[in-house]
Symmetry: C2
Subunit: 320 residues, 2 copies
């Protein structure tokens, strides 16, 4: 029953979403990265993060976007690394980045100063003002360790097309490591797009009056990912809604439809302090207390802890 | 003839575009800033920069956006300051920022290192690696001078509504300095929007099938800006097209319609090396040669030089 749909999806991907020219190169990078780390006894998580851009014109001036700073993906990457994972970080260009996210809210020039007591301006040393950025030594040290051990492979996307093709490439690359791969699909992916064939070439003219847009539905890539591309992997999807009354129903329906392992369900307004981790048999609420918030605990630490345990059980079940 | 249109635009602004709560406070800041600098013998330019966000839902998950990194606005701000102007920088949140734009393409953590020869990790000093960022002392020095002299007033917007109301406030604030004010409207402003009354509250459900969007035209704010809010100011608008054959016609038509001073016309693909500065009587092509590009000359330096001369003449004509 599912066969024709999947075939048509693969065809659709190739026809209606431009293939990025570097996709094969990236796939090889990801495959090498995964092989290396699994041989070293690690697990590998593919994190997607940030929103996708949907162009309205082929020479793009205007686009549709999804609200996402990339905070959840970037912070989760750090906790996965702390838990012994190697991380492929498939993220929207200029969205928040692991470790560097610490500086995202300030103008870096406000945190720099000339080193005092220096003479000639020729070799002026510029230092970080640690009154402005008290965490910088800790963050830099950790970043340098992670870089040295090559635990983080960053891959960028901008458009929905790039995202879809790179995710497919990642799934195929990670299929070789079977159940040791986790997919943590935190990106805010558009549900709608304009097919290349229906897109105007040039900037839409406002002198033509009000704009009518007709957008097609984006194929549900979770379906071939779970069934065909990486059938042994542990797959976590995210469900973000603004209406709390429909959230859990939608999470359960997604698990029924795609047959993957976990949906992390959250509401736009409370997403930094409350999520529900939904599996076919269980439902766990993760909540930050006021005390947690005061102590700078992030909910991603709890999410990652929950999921790495579940992934562990999942791997043992496959073996046993 | 124009009266009813303007009245209706003011009404429309208040009705269909949510007024930001801090608009009065910002207006006073801008007014104080302009007054202070004009008394000190400077001119004041209001630069708008970056794209506007147009929400599709009132609890926003999805939005329409315009392609713009904010590079032109950020770099122009620096050249205006070098030419003796004070700058109000009305920019999209997280778009490129004057001076800090130098670091926009790198991960700051790749440019930081622990100071060598240090003992205890307790007081580890973190310095900028000037092999990665050779310009940092020069840029930091200039940034600190500009900050000390308060020559740059940054104001942020996210949505189209915020942009429209803050621009109106800026125009009214700068009206008090008459012809000494320049408006340099480089932001990529949406031509279309969904009125608050027609916007769904919750996230649009993809299960309802393909998406039909009907967008209204954004009122042309240049018209009341030139006629009513700041009638003595020197006003520069930008025209970006992807189709070169319609560009100059559209620039001339804009000057005829809005009766302002200058349109800077440019084509998406060549915008960093070629613009046409169009006035009612003249048309000047500004072009970067290969030699210029090699020497890191930016086209904004030429644009700003052209416009500050024209502004000078404009002021003298008003006086004479």
């Amino acid at each position: 029953m599912a066969e024709p749909r999947i075939t048509s999806l693969d065809g659709k991907l190739a026809e209606e979403f431009a293939i990025p020219s570097h996709v094969d190169e990236v796939k090889e990078q990801m495959s090498d990265f995964a092989g290396h780390h699994v041989r070293a006894g690690r697990r590998v998580v593919l994190i997607t993060s940030g929103g996708t851009k949907v162009p309205l014109e082929s020479r793009t001036v205007r686009f549709l976007d999804n609200f996402s700073s990339g905070r959840r993906g970037a912070s989760s990457a750090e906790y996965f690394i702390d838990s012994g994972y190697a991380v492929i970080f498939l993220h929207r260009h200029r969205s928040l980045f692991p470790y560097a996210r610490t500086f995202s809210t300030i103008n870096m020039l406000d945190a720099l100063q000339f080193r005092s007591g220096q003479g000639g301006s020729g070799s002026a040393e510029v230092v970080v003002n640690q009154q402005v950025l008290p965490n910088v030594p800790k963050v830099l040290k950790r970043y340098q360790e992670v870089k040295e051990q090559r635990l983080l492979l960053p891959i960028e996307f901008n458009t929905l097309s790039e995202y879809l093709h790179l995710l497919k490439a990642a799934a195929q690359a990670l299929n070789t490591i079977g159940s040791k791969a986790m997919f943590y699909l935190a990106a805010a992916v558009s549900d709608f797009y304009i097919p290349a064939s229906e897109m105007p070439e040039h900037k839409i003219q406002s002198s033509n009056g009000p704009l009518q847009l007709s957008l097609n539905m984006v194929p549900k890539i979770l379906s071939p990912l779970v069934k065909d591309w990486a059938p042994q992997a542990f797959v976590v999807s995210f469900k973000l809604e603004t209406d709390a009354t429909i959230l859990l129903g939608k999470a359960r329906r997604a698990l029924d439809t795609y047959r993957h392992q976990v949906v992390v369900a959250n509401i736009l307004d409370s997403r930094r302090g409350y999520v529900v981790v939904v599996t076919p048999d269980t439902q766990a609420e993760l909540i930050l207390t006021e005390e947690d918030v005061k102590n700078d605990i992030e909910i991603e630490e709890r999410i990652v802890s929950n999921l790495t345990s579940a992934h562990n059980k999942f791997i043992n079940q496959q073996v046993g």
